[in-house]
Symmetry: C2
Subunit: 469 residues, 2 copies
């Protein structure tokens, strides 16, 4: 699709203003710049206008007009995405969901919450926790990302290893289609065998099939206690081997995170890190959490997990003593991405493999780094086989449309595919990974996805050029 600035005529601008109100229409430079970026590498693409509607009906009215006039529309949550899903690379209209920010109903009788998409994930989690309810998915950006963005990317986070990802909690969605109709995808029930699963088709579709405007999530009882342990390993591959051994021994931790020491070294050089020791005898840490309703049981379980770790040359284990120490450890883990990006590791891959293949992934990554002269640090959700790989290569801040990085990423992704994995576990494909979809899918699968896109969006106006061309 060509760049289409001229389609946004003065008439259209008047229509947009009359729909959302003058004060929620933006075309000033500062706004356009702000909405030109998200957390993806160092990319920036300015839209022509930014709209901040307040209701599904306003979004519907805007989409009807854009569909009629074939104006590109990019939906946007909090802009914390890492693959460019919210970047308006074709210009046009950005629709921000930030004003759809109300939790509509916490249904304690049925353990469900109905929310608008512009609610910050952690705000939602706290609101339901006050009623002893639990919404587990907790991306590292939970303090700033929107629940709507989480739906679009099928986000995960540390607790996914026990509790599953976003898709496992979505019961029903109100969606404004690119053609303007407003539909509900399912029903507010725990089991559903009523026609095709349109709900799950929209989850993870990265804002290409519709704009989600209401979300019904199932909740579970909030576990009362958790126990957190930090385990250092002299050998990174042994740490990875320990991960699958824990599950094979019959334990399912509520988090099982890996941090390579190089990532911690970067962070420690930037802030005072006392939480996780960094020394020459350590190549990686595992952060292991178990949760439940009985502390004695949890402590016993953690002791048994510690027994498993012995076989993998774990160093001295640190059991977090209180809530503050737990929070320090978690905060450091969550901040890793931000700090290593600041330190120049601007390119991120979101590898996921069957968890027992992690050692091979790590080994292959090191070989690639030596061959192609780049630094990489790995950290993330080892329990799920999902590792975030941050890459720093002098003079190359972006992978998108960079031939040198293209070669490197292709080799890495080919390895991931060979190990039975895929190229995104929780960050999506968006703009920057779409060129690599041919590594994991054949043309027929991609054709099916493109045709499904056409079913929802015949004029290809909504987040066009994302996931696939």
């Amino acid at each position: 699709m060509e760049h289409l600035p001229n389609r946004i005529t003065a008439d259209l601008i008047e229509s947009f203003k009359s729909i959302v109100g003058n004060e929620y229409f933006f075309a000033d430079d500062e706004s356009l710049l702000r909405y030109s970026r998200d957390e993806t590498e160092t990319l920036s693409f300015k839209p022509h206008v930014v709209l901040k509607p307040a209701t599904s009906q306003e979004i519907s009215a805007v989409l009807k007009i854009c569909n009629e006039h074939q104006v590109p529309v990019t939906p946007r949550g909090a802009g914390t995405g890492l693959t460019g899903g919210a970047l308006p690379h074709l210009g046009g209209v950005v629709i921000s969901t930030e004003r759809l920010n109300k939790i509509l109903d916490i249904d304690e009788r049925n353990l469900q919450v109905t929310t608008e998409p512009g609610v910050i994930t952690e705000v939602l989690q706290r609101a339901v926790a006050e009623k002893s309810l639990f919404y587990p998915p907790d991306p590292a950006s939970k303090g700033s990302c929107f629940i709507g963005g989480n739906i679009s990317e099928n986000s995960g986070g540390p607790r996914a290893v026990k509790y599953g990802v976003v898709k496992d909690y979505v019961l029903n969605l109100e969606v404004v289609l690119p053609t303007g109709e407003i539909i509900w995808t399912g029903a507010n029930v725990l089991k559903n065998a009523t026609g095709y699963n349109i709900t799950q088709l929209v989850v993870g579709s990265e804002g290409t099939l519709g704009i989600v405007t209401k979300i019904v999530l199932r909740l579970i009882p909030l576990p009362k206690y958790d126990v957190l342990m930090l385990a250092p390993f002299a050998n990174l591959e042994k740490a990875c081997e320990a991960v699958s051994a824990i599950f094979r021994a019959g334990y399912t931790p509520s988090a099982l995170e890996l941090m390579e020491i190089n990532a911690l070294k970067v962070v420690s050089s930037m802030i005072d890190n006392h939480a996780m020791p960094v020394n020459d005898h350590t190549e990686a840490h595992l952060l292991i959490e178990v949760d439940g309703n009985d502390t004695d049981v949890l402590l016993k379980e953690m002791e048994q997990i510690a027994g498993v770790l012995e076989h993998f040359e774990a160093g001295e284990l640190l059991l977090a003593e209180d809530a503050q120490q737990k929070e320090e450890l978690w905060k450091l883990r969550r901040k890793v991405a931000e700090y290593v990006k600041l330190a120049g590791y601007t390119i991120e891959e979101d590898a996921v493999v069957p968890r027992a293949e992690l050692p091979k992934l790590i080994r292959g990554l090191k070989v690639l780094g030596r061959q192609h002269d780049f630094d990489a640090v790995a950290y993330g959700h080892a329990g799920d086989g999902n590792l975030h790989i941050r890459i720093k290569k002098e003079g190359v801040p972006n992978s998108y449309q960079n031939p040198e990085m293209d070669t490197i990423v292709r080799e890495l992704f080919a390895l991931i595919k060979q190990l039975g994995g895929t190229i995104s576990g929780e960050h999506g494909i968006g703009l920057i990974q779409k060129g690599f979809m041919d590594i994991v899918f054949e043309e027929r699968q991609l054709q099916i996805m493109r045709e499904i896109k056409k079913v929802f969006d015949p004029n290809n106006i909504l987040n066009a050029g994302k996931i696939f061309d």
Copy 2:
């Protein structure tokens, strides 16, 4: 679509024989009769031929021919379906998956199993349990149904209340498309944000989008112990209220089943039932199971659940004493459907509502029964809000294309919709419920489903006329 016997020419028959082998081609009366039925009401529709291919490649070759010649194809698992998904109502070819019956790989390192679709669900569960692994979904028919059919219907069962349904375990599928291509839908990983979720689109699509030929399921560690309790209630609605109170108190049982006393009376009149007492002071039983790795914890949890039940006028609680008593209780629960069907309750609905609405559903059902002069018994997965309602009406063995039943079912489904529920929790829509899809979906949603069907099956040959017209 018209009835198409004549499209199956002598030439086509020769092609089919050469693909699957003479001995796996059937057109004799006995075979056609056997494959004319499943467990749906008392319906029967004969196909013209039955094929029993052994591989994806053979299925692909058959589908290519049928697609070219526009011959209707009905895929079939074990024939235990309850909504006519496997009924060849347009004649044509039945493709049975019974020879694709091998468990291909139990991957203990990654807690995954790869299987063909024609494996009996319980056989699969036992095979992985031998390695201390757990595949939780356990439909009542688990001793005879195929795992492939479970994928098609997105089956559940008692354990869904804690562990989720089939869709929560499917990682990746090999599917033969109606046009003959063989694709994999995803990857063998626990988290996946790589393009549209084609895997979840195929799960629950009732054999209309493709024929599933290989299935990769995630497994979890097998819980070591369980505790089972039977709780009688003098009042059915109180029993329903107790169900949601258990969750609100913070407990998630591994099963929470309801049986209305009328269902048990029917069963008791047919077999010696000593497991569940039937008397005039009891309107319903709840069967409650908790599972985990520590019996002391489980007994404590069950005691606390018993405390919750006190507030709902539960009678004398029976804790199953040994494995044999547990098996008796479960066997009786699983056999209810079969016996009440034999007793003339041939029409089944698969209602699902938010669980706190169960009392209203039960109350509404009783009112309808009095208004329209039918007997109904209810039982099933109360913890999920999913109740099976079996209906007996003199002289009306089938709901399909029966105007009298149409009125009744419409009223019942309208109530379910009004309670926030939907018309199938785990049995699917198939043939007999498709006429009611307008109650839960507007035309636009149905249009999306129809167009998705077209993406996969442009000539509408595969299980056409199921789910929607």
